[in-house]
Amino acid sequence: MAQALVEAVDLCKYFKTPKGLLHAVENVNFRIQEGKTLGVVGESGCGKSTLGRTVLRLHKATSGKVLYEGKDILSFSRSEMHNVHRNMQMIFQDPYSSLDPRMSIRALIGEPLSGLPRSERLSAAEEKEKVDAIMQMCGLPLHYANMYPHELDGGMRQRVGLARAMVLGPRFIVCDEPVSALDVSIQAQILNLLMDLQDEHKLSYMFITHDLAVVRHISDDIMVMYMGQVVEYAPSHMLFSSPMHPYTVALLNSIPTIDLSRRGRERITIHGEISSPVNPAPGCRFAPRCPYATEECRNEHKLVEVEKGHFAACTKGVK
């Protein structure tokens, strides 16, 4: 198997809280090849954003490894980190709060360049040229350069966010709910742009979202998380055609659709709500809400390769 561009090995992130240890991300493994997209799906509080930030070292991992081209970036020293910043970037959910309101669009897009080591800094003219090129690439009209974030609408701001991530020429981008705050018509524009950039630059994405419809569209592989645990991990088409974990099934079933033939479908509504995994009990964390839970669910949680490439922690959801 070819070497993955980005790989996580038994990655864990725990937070200390007054109530106990919060297991935000527990033993996560994934591999992302060059030019591919891993979709990470789950509801709020499932640890998907924490996972993205831990991969980029914005949070310090509790244990495990993150490999970029086979090298563990979690063990990098400060001086080696600029390699990480150049190659691994992030797009944030909220295009309103992730841009400093006091900086012009040009300054915002040029900002990542100012973090480069001194030897690689660009001259002012080179920087201007670079920013112009990136703006064009991301579909931002050049006259926006001297405007401020509050003068742009959500879609344009998210393009600025994307331009900022692209300016260093990364190979891997963590997209943390990049379209959730946008209207559907704008959402489609941004998704298409992300896919165009991926094709042109052979980018790899980790696409974090709560929206299964969006994730199916853009992802090659999908990982479903629930309260810090990965419950199912499979190539996109497999996950949608034959979901196995009861949670995945419930999630797929809950999405409202415009397909009127599905209007009266039998619903498996799951009861209760997600809680936070503080000092969690062993076993499957979905068990308290699961209609099929049995005594043994409370003992073990382990991903098993059910068919080639399709991993699931439980197969009770199969009809």
Binding site: D183, V184, R216, P256
Partner: protein
């Protein structure tokens, strides 16, 4: 056929801000029958919330109803004194807001907050009767009555929205205005809340105006749909009319095209180019003309007339010939 509960006719609403006049609603007409579930679909800034607030006459100070009429059970609301509106709001017409986190008072127990509605609109009830009603209502929305002395922060997001629904429905209103009631919630919770709203609606025969940006939600929950764009209704009809894919307004068609289809593998989505026009200038023609692939000269000059076919109405010049043919 049941009577129209709410009739909005040619409503124009504008916000007079310091810099400019923002035209939020430009001639919106809407009918809602008793017990009906109407979905009002549109994007940010289309005027969905403005419409709901106009019905309750709760527009912010800068907002002004320029012309039009809103009649509720045959009575013109725009001529009524404020005292009449006070008796209407929360008693006969209730509203649910998007964010359950901020629509509850953090320093009052949820039981007290629900009872407040009764104190206001049913002062004649005894304390015991009120408490009993609160307990019943909490149970109806799926919260054990024993939790009524707890405070909002002790509830999760979905539970808070249940409390808000309990508050809205305890006076058994005839009309519920639900403004993006599930947008802040996760999908599995959204499914629970929508199921709950459906059950309660059937139980009390409340009419629902569901305001949302989510076409899927409307397709699953509502009987009729109105699509709003830039302060104008561009298309309305039953769920079947809209989602069968025949004779849709180009905007509706575009919206449907933007949604990634779960059952199909597609390479690229079909976004609507451009973005919504600035609401500070009143469009002379069709508000969607600038983004529309089928736009003709006429579209930029004349407001399209309604083209109706049974329950289905479209405001688009593309259907002008068809109208002539009948």
């Amino acid at each position: 056929m049941s009577e129209n509960l709410l009739e909005v006719k040619d409503l124009h609403v504008q916000y007079n801000t310091d810099d400019a006049v923002v035209y939020a609603l430009n001639g919106v007409s809407l009918n809602l029958k008793e017990g009906e579930k109407l979905g009002l679909v549109g994007e940010t800034g289309a005027g969905k919330t403005t419409l709901a607030l106009s019905v309750l006459r709760l527009l912010p100070k800068v907002g002004q109803i320029a012309s039009g009429s809103i009649s509720y059970k045959g009575e013109e609301l725009l001529d009524k004194p404020e005292s009449y509106m006070l008796g209407l709001r929360g008693r006969r017409v209730s509203m649910i807001f998007q964010d359950p986190m901020t629509s509850l008072n953090p320093v009052k127990s949820v039981g007290d907050q629900i009872r407040e509605v009764l104190d206001l609109h049913f002062p004649q009830l005894t304390k015991e009767a009120k408490n009993e009603k609160v307990d019943q209502m909490l149970q109806l929305v799926g919260i054990p009555a024993s939790r009524k002395n707890e405070f909002p922060h002790q509830f999760s997001g979905g539970m808070k929205q249940r409390v808000v629904i309990a508050m809205a429905l305890i006076s058994q209103p005839e009309l519920l205005l639900a403004d993006e009631p599930t947008t802040a919630l996760d999908v599995t919770i959204q499914a629970q809340i929508m199921a709950l709203m459906g059950q309660l609606k059937d139980r009390f025969n409340t009419a629902v105006l569901l305001i949302t940006h989510d076409l899927g939600l409307v397709a699953e929950f509502c009987d009729t749909v109105a699509v709003i764009y830039s302060g104008c209704i561009v298309e309305s009809g039953t769920v079947e009319d809209i989602f069968s894919g025949k004779n849709n307004h180009p905007y509706t068609k575009g919206l449907i095209g933007c949604i990634p289809d779960l059952s199909k593998d597609e390479d690229r989505l079909h976004p609507i180019p451009g973005h919504m026009a600035d609401a500070r200038t009143l469009p002379s023609g069709c508000p969607f003309a600038d983004r529309c692939a089928n736009a003709m000269d006429k579209c930029r000059k004349e407001r399209p007339e309604a083209f109706s076919e049974g329950t289905h109405t479209v405001f688009c010049h593309l259907f002008d010939n068809m109208r002539g043919g009948v």
